[in-house]
Amino acid sequence: MASVSYENVTKRYSGDTLAVDNLSLEVKDTEFMVLVGPSGCGKSTALRMLAGLEDITEGQIKIGDKVVNDMPPRDRDIAMVFQSYALYPHMSVYDNMAFGLKMRGTPRADIERRVNTAADVLELGPLLKRKPRQLSGGQRQRVALGRAIVREPQVFLLDEPLSNLDAKLRVQTRIELQKQHRALHATFIYVTHDQVEAMTMGDRIAVMRDGVLQQVAPPREIYGNPANMYVAGFIGSPTMNFIPVTVQGKTAKASGFELELPHAPGVEKGTLGIRPEALTEAPVAGHAGLDLKVEVVEILGSDQFLYGTVGGDSITARVDPHLKVQPGDRVRLGVDTRRLHLFDSATEKAVL
């Protein structure tokens, strides 16, 4: 079993693209680590360096306690699931799954046993003789996963494995992957740009932006204590409300309201961060509150979102779906001051 560590890893492509910038990240043995960030932030590059598919420009990567910088992929004891699945089109499902074992000279009987076991688990039994092009997207995805599983590697690398599936299948496969992770007792490194996947699957989440690691933490903490404005805005849907404020002592003053912070943050100008659910339709007298001028109402059954303005700032609030609100109404909302965030205007770092 193996941990993985990136130590000051930088990747520069020819033409001066800085894809990964001084990345340091420890992934513990058997951990499910999710690398998340917008398109082009360098997550695939980080994963591919670990797989041995890209050279490392600076720094080093360790699997277990071995530095793997110069080790060919085949010696790294990893398996990878590609976004496009990369199934071998001319081989049957069985041969696709057996390929890695064959290349390593595993005895035929062993191969058969391992492929059949994996096929049972992934319900691929009846499809073993088919070619990849005779499979649906979801089935292909399972074959790609099966190909990784039969290898019984120490580390699984998954690069956006669900992005080609439809919404329902994505949820199913997400759950399946988590089950597999628990059953296999292996380290998983999972790349996605989808914050829901990140939040639901990761033991810890690493948020990246423009090649730079922003924060590594368990999902709850990423959500509850984002290290900076970028992470706060990236995780959570609808996104956190950001309201420019001036601060005097413990008092934060926005264009349309003011409130008392739990303690003095020590900055004069900042951006107040309020998650939509930290606004409540039942304001408590004497506590902080604001008057929302409602412009759009969205009812999603279990939730109701109000979009509107307070002073000059746009605000989204999540309220009880039974609350009867019309566009144009003014609604008095309470603010849960324990769940406030404040970011320094200059550095965008969390100061509260």
């Binding site: 060919p72 992929p73 085949r74 990893i78 590609f82 496009s84 990369a86 089109p89 390929f99």
Partner: protein, 306 residues
């Protein structure tokens, strides 16, 4: 078909003509007609006429009359014909093996990233682009007993004796095959290169992670993925080499002592130079059944694997 059209049809407002055009099969055949006519005119007519000639005693300036299999009978005892037949098979088989091997090598090399890539790719196509007559004439000079650059190099640098390439029976056919291979490699190379470039790089990445060595990647990914192109190129090239006329005609034209005759040049000598059009036609048609079997075999093989 749109709902509106279906509605009209149900009420009997649409004629049967429209419905025929809407069905796939009849429309398909209809659209094939012009092509079939063209093919019939330019392929079938000469071909059938050739077959007819081969069973007549036609000569140049004389339509002749039906003689049954007499021309074919005659060929059986013609030693030059038998030599030509053997030469054609050797010429095709040997050059095909070399063109395939070297073409594949060329494609694999060209598929690497290197400086001046485009230029080199274009340059390597030259043998195939230059008209065969021209390049073959150049080769004739290179093989000339007195002026041969090949001999000069052999003599001055390797201290080997001069060879009369085209003048001796033991080397003339070899020379022919060398030139054919030289001319044919680019076609194989460029076709294979095109095939190589359609193979997604992720397959190689997956194979590398799966533990495949370079050679295993070639055996397990490259070759099987290239197979459809390989088969088609092989098929085309075999047919063209079997029927190759320009190169043998310009380089040796059967000399010395008919030792380099292939069926096409022998058919030309008998049929056009000698004037026995009927026999010439019979000679050139001999390969037809053989080629048909090869083509059918390849096409069936190509289908069944899919």
């Amino acid at each position: 078909m749109g709902a509106a059209v279906r509605g009209l049809e149900a009420r009997g407002l649409m004629g049967p003509r429209v419905r025929i055009l809407d069905r796939e099969a009849p429309l398909g055949y209809l659209l094939l007609v012009p092509l079939l006519l063209l093919l019939g005119l330019f392929l079938a007519y000469p071909f059938l006429f050739g077959i007819w000639l081969s069973v007549t005693n036609a000569q140049i300036g004389d339509n002749g009359h039906f003689v049954g299999a007499a021309n074919y009978q005659y060929e059986r005892s013609d030693t030059v014909f038998i030599q030509s037949f053997a030469n054609t098979i050797t010429y095709t088989a040997v050059t095909t093996v070399f063109k395939l091997g070297l073409g594949l090598l060329m494609a694999l090399l060209l598929n690497q990233v290197f400086p001046a890539q485009r230029f080199v790719r274009a340059a390597l196509l030259l043998p195939w682009i230059i008209p065969s007559v021209l390049s073959t004439l150049a080769w004739r000079w290179m093989f000339d007993p007195t002026f041969s650059v090949v001999n000069w190099v052999a003599l001055h640098y390797l201290h080997l004796p001069s060879v009369n390439w085209l003048g001796t029976t033991s080397t003339a056919l070899v020379s022919l095959m060398i030139v054919n291979t030289w001319r044919g490699i680019p076609f194989y190379g460029i076709s294979f290169l095109a095939g190589l470039q359609t193979i997604p790089t992720e397959l190689y990445e997956a194979a590398r992670v799966d533990g495949a060595t370079r050679f295993q990647q070639f055996r397990q990914i490259t070759l099987p993925m290239l197979r459809p192109i390989l088969v088609v190129v092989l098929l085309l090239s075999t047919i063209l080499t079997f029927g190759d006329f320009t190169l043998p005609y310009v380089l040796t034209n059967c000399a010395p002592y008919n030792s380099t005759c292939v069926l096409s040049t022998w058919a030309f000598q008998i049929g056009v130079n000698g004037g026995y059009i009927g026999i010439g036609a019979a000679i050139s048609l001999v390969l037809f059944p053989l080629l048909s079997i090869i083509v059918a075999g390849v096409l069936i093989g190509l289908r069944s694997r899919d």
